[in-house]
C-alpha cells in the first residue's frame, strides 16, 4: 500500500507541475489568443535558472551559487519573464500563425543553446541539481515527496486564484476582447500590443515557475527535458481540458498525464511478451488516438470556457 501511496504522490506532483504550465498557456492562448509554440523554452529557462542559482558548485561549471531555494525560484520566474519580454517585443505584433512559428523557433533555439553551452548549462550532459531543499532534514523519501507535493499544490492553488481573479477583472475582459476582435478593441482606445505583451510575459513567468519546480523535483535537467514534445504535451493538455477554462486546464493536465503514463503501464501489463518491444510504438498510437477521439467528441475540451456577460445592474 505504501508503494501505491508513494507512486500516487509522485504522479500527482508531476501532474500538478505540468498543470501550472498549462495554466500559463491558458492565459496566453485560452484568454488572449496567443499561439505560443515555444512553451518548452519558458519551462526550460525556469528549470535551468533554478539549478544554476540554487545548485552546489561543480568543477568546470558555471553556476552553483548555492542561493536559498526561494531566491532560485524567484530568479527562475524572472528569467522566464525576461525571455518572454525579449521574444515578445520582437514578435508580439505578428499574427497568430506567424507568432506560433516564431515562438516555436525560439524553443528550438533554446534547446540548441543549452545543448551547446557546456560551461553555462552543462551541454548535452545536463545540469545535476542540488540536494533538494530540506531533503537532508526530512530524511524519509516518501515523507519528503509528500511535503514537496503540498508545496506544489499550494503554488497551484495560488496561481489558480490569481488567474481566476485576473480573468474576472476588467483586464480579463480586455484580454477576451483582444482575442475576439482586435480591431474593435483598438477602436475603443485600447492598445492590444501592450496588453498582449503583458499576458504573454505573465503566462511565461508561470511556465517558468513550473520549470523551476520540475528541475527541483528531479534535481536534474538536460536538453532532453526541453524538446518540442514538451510543448506538444502542454498544448494537448490545454486543448483536451478546455482552453479558456482554468479548471479545464488543470483537469486536462491530470487527464493527459494519466493517459500518457497509464497507457505504458497497461501495455507493459497486458501485452504478450513477444509484443513487448512494440509496446512503445503502440503507446504512441494509443495516445494519438485518444487525443483525436477527444477532439472529435468534445472539441471545446472537457470543461469548455464559460463566458459570463458582465452586467453592472445585476444585484449581488
Amino acid at each position: 500500500m505504501i508503494g501505491v501511496a508513494s507512486y500516487l504522490v509522485f504522479f500527482v506532483t508531476v501532474a500538478s507541475i505540468l498543470a501550472i504550465a498549462v495554466m500559463g498557456l491558458n492565459l496566453q492562448w485560452g484568454n488572449t489568443g496567443l499561439f505560443n509554440g515555444g512553451v518548452a523554452a519558458f519551462v526550460g529557462i525556469g528549470g535551468y535558472t533554478t539549478i544554476i542559482l540554487g545548485g552546489t558548485p561543480q568543477v568546470g561549471q558555471f553556476g552553483g551559487f548555492d542561493l536559498p531555494f526561494l531566491i532560485a525560484v524567484l530568479g527562475a520566474v524572472l528569467a522566464a519573464g525576461a525571455l518572454a519580454w525579449i521574444v515578445g517585443i520582437a514578435t508580439i505584433r505578428l499574427r497568430h500563425d506567424y507568432f506560433a512559428i516564431a515562438t516555436f523557433g525560439v524553443a528550438v533555439a533554446f534547446e540548441s543553446f543549452v545543448r551547446n553551452t557546456d560551461r553555462l548549462t552543462g551541454g548535452a550532459k545536463g545540469l545535476r541539481g542540488f540536494e533538494r531543499p530540506l531533503e537532508g532534514i526530512v530524511g524519509d523519501p516518501l515523507l519528503y515527496n509528500a511535503g514537496f507535493l503540498v508545496v506544489t499544490l499550494v503554488l497551484l492553488t495560488v496561481i489558480y486564484f490569481f488567474l481566476y481573479r485576473l480573468v474576472q477583472s476588467p483586464f480579463g475582459r480586455l484580454l477576451r476582447a483582444i482575442r475576439e476582435d482586435e480591431v474593435a478593441a483598438t477602436a475603443l482606445g485600447k492598445n492590444p500590443a501592450r496588453i498582449r505583451l503583458i499576458a504573454f510575459i505573465t503566462g511565461a513567468m508561470i511556465m517558468g515557475l513550473s520549470g523551476s519546480l520540475y528541475a527541483t523535483f528531479y534535481a536534474f535537467i538536460s536538453p532532453q527535458d526541453v524538446l518540442p514534445i514538451l510543448t506538444f504535451q502542454i498544448w494537448a493538455m490545454l486543448i483536451v481540458g478546455g482552453a479558456g477554462n482554468l479548471r479545464g486546464g488543470i483537469l486536462g493536465a491530470f487527464f493527459m498525464w494519466l493517459i500518457w503514463t497509464a497507457s505504458g503501464w497497461a501495455l507493459a501489463k497486458f501485452a504478450p511478451v513477444e509484443a513487448q518491444s512494440y509496446a512503445g510504438t503502440l503507446q504512441y498510437i494509443l495516445i494519438g488516438g485518444i487525443i483525436v477521439a477527444m477532439l472529435l467528441w468534445r472539441p471545446q475540451g472537457l470543461l469548455p470556457e464559460r463566458l459570463v456577460v458582465s452586467q453592472s445592474n445585476v444585484e449581488h
Partner: protein, 424 residues
C-alpha cells in the same frame, strides 16, 4: 463534468477488468513463484527494440535454467520514449507499484540520470544500464550518491576514446577531422579523443557537431573538408552517420575513417556502401577473441537468425545476466543485497561462467556452494570498479560482406596503459 465522471469511472472499471484478466492468465501458466524485475528501455525507437528483445532473451535463458532461486523471472518492460519525464514515471511505477528490486536501463544518459537520482537511489533499488556512457555518472558515484546501486556494462566513454586515439596513432595519421553526435555521449567522446590526440601531438583540424534529423549535412561536411584532414573520426549513430559520411565521400573527402562502436551496424554499412568502407576501422568494447563473445554470437544467431550487430546488444545481454546472477547469489531480494553481490559474480579469480543454459545451471550450483564467479559473456569477462564502471578490453573491427570482422585486440592493460601515458 458529469460526462467526465462517467468516462473516468468507465476507464477505471475497464482497467480493473484487464488487471484481473491478466492476473488469471499469469497464475495459470506460472511456475511455483515469480520474481519481478523492471526494465526501462526506448522501445519506441528503432534501435531500442533489438536491445529490449535481447534483454528478454537473457531472461528467457535464465528461466530455462530454472530461474532465480527456483522462481521464474518476469521482466516488466516499459518504454521511455527517450523522454526523461516518461522514463522516470515508468521507473517510479515499477519501483513503487511492482516492487522491483532491480531496474535495467535506461539507454540515454539523460534518462538514466534522473531515474538514478530521483527513483532508484532513494528507494535502494539496484540499477544497471547497458548503454549510458556519460562521464557524469562516475562523478555522482564518486560523491557516494549512488550508494553502490549503480552499474553499467558499457565501457565509459574514456575507455572508448582511448582506443580511438590508439587506432589513429597506430596508423600514423597526423591530421584528424572529427564528427560527433551532438548529445552527451558524442560531446564527451569527441572532446576526449581530441584531447588524447593533441596530447600525442596529432593535429585535430576540425571538430564538428552533428545534430539529429537535419535534412542535409552539407554545411558541416564542408566545414570539415576545408581543413583537408587525412582521416575522419566519426562518433555518430547509424542514421546520421550514413547521411554525413555519404555526403562526405560524395564531396571528395577521405575514405580513411575511424568509426565508433555505434556505427557497427548493417544499416550503416548498407547505406554507405561496403566499397567505400575498405579503409575504415572501428572500435568497440566487446572482446571477440574471448571464446565467450563468440559463443554469445552463436546463441544470438540461433535465436534471432541474424548477427548481433546493433549498438548495445552484447551490453544489455551482460547487464541482465550479471544482475540475475547477483540476484541468485543474494541472500534476500532487496536492491542493496543484490548490488552487493555483483562483485562476487564478476570476481576475476572466481569460476569462469558463460551464460548459456548449462552455464547458468553450473553457475547457480557454484553459488550454492559459496563459490564466486568470473562472469564472461557477450562483452568478454566483465569487472566493475568502485563507481560501477566497467574496464573492458577492446577490439577494432572492419566491415565485411557478412557483417563485421575483428581486426585487433586490445587488452585491459593496453587500454589502461595508454590512458596513463596520455594523462601525464
Amino acid at each position: 463534468m458529469g460526462l467526465m465522471k462517467v468516462s473516468m469511472i468507465g476507464m477505471a472499471a475497464s482497467v480493473a477488468a484487464f488487471a484481473s484478466l491478466a492476473g488469471v492468465s499469469s497464475t495459470a501458466s506460472a511456475q511455483d513463484c515469480t520474481t519481478k524485475i523492471g526494465a526501462v528501455l526506448p522501445t519506441s525507437v528503432d534501435w531500442g527494440k533489438p536491445i529490449a528483445a535481447t534483454a528478454q532473451f537473457a531472461v528467457d535463458l535464465f528461466n530455462e535454467a530454472g530461474g532465480v532461486k527456483g522462481c521464474k523471472i518476469d521482466m516488466i518492460l516499459r518504454d521511455t520514449q527517450v523522454d526523461p519525464k516518461v522514463g522516470v514515471d515508468a521507473a517510479k511505477a515499477l519501483v513503487d507499484l511492482e516492487r522491483v528490486p532491480l531496474l535495467i536501463g535506461a539507454v540515454s544518459s539523460g534518462v538514466s540520470m534522473p531515474i538514478l537520482t530521483s527513483v532508484t537511489a532513494p528507494a535502494n533499488v539496484m540499477q544497471m544500464s547497458c548503454c549510458s556512457s556519460s562521464t557524469a555518472f562516475t562523478g555522482v558515484a564518486e560523491s557516494g550518491k549512488t550508494k553502490g546501486l549503480w552499474f553499467r556494462t558499457f565501457a565509459t566513454t574514456r575507455n572508448q576514446a582511448a582506443v580511438a586515439a590508439m587506432l589513429i596513432r597506430d596508423r600514423g595519421y597526423k591530421k584528424v577531422g572529427i564528427f560527433y553526435k551532438n548529445d552527451d555521449w558524442g560531446q564527451d567522446i569527441g572532446k576526449l579523443v581530441a584531447a588524447d590526440l593533441e596530447a600525442m601531438g596529432i593535429e585535430v583540424s576540425a571538430n564538428v557537431a552533428i545534430n539529429d534529423g537535419a535534412p542535409s549535412y552539407r554545411a558541416e561536411v564542408t566545414e570539415a573538408l576545408k581543413s583537408q584532414p587525412e582521416v575522419i573520426y566519426a562518433a555518430l549513430y547509424p542514421t546520421e552517420g550514413s547521411a554525413v559520411l555519404r555526403e562526405w565521400i560524395s564531396l571528395g573527402g577521405t575514405q580513411k575513417m575511424v568509426l565508433a562502436n555505434s556505427l557497427k551496424s548493417d544499416e550503416f554499412r548498407d547505406n554507405v556502401g561496403l566499397q567505400y568502407l575498405g579503409d575504415s576501422i572501428g572500435h568497440d568494447s566487446a572482446a571477440p577473441r574471448v571464446a565467450t563473445a563468440a559463443s554469445f554470437v552463436d546463441l544470438y544467431k540461433a535465436k534471432f537468425d541474424a548477427e548481433p550487430n546493433g549498438p548495445g546488444l552484447p551490453n544489455i545481454f551482460d547487464a541482465v545476466m550479471i544482475s540475475l546472477l547477483a540476484m541468485e547469489a543474494a541472500d534476500d531480494k532487496t536492491g542493496t543485497a543484490i548490488a552487493a553481490e555483483v562483485a562476487n559474480v564478476t570476481d576475476p579469480s572466481g569460476m569462469a561462467v558463460f551464460p548459456d543454459v548449462d552455464g547458468i545451471k553450473a553457475a547457480k550450483a557454484a553459488l550454492a556452494e559459496g563459490k564466486s564467479l568470473s562472469y564472461g559473456g557477450a562483452t568478454g569477462s566483465v569487472s566493475f570498479d568502485k563507481n560501477g564502471d566497467v574496464s573492458a578490453p577492446a577490439v577494432s573491427w572492419t566491415f565485411t560482406d557478412a557483417g563485421t570482422a575483428e581486426a585487433q585486440y586490445f587488452t585491459i592493460a593496453d587500454v589502461d596503459g595508454f590512458i596513463a601515458s596520455v594523462a601525464k
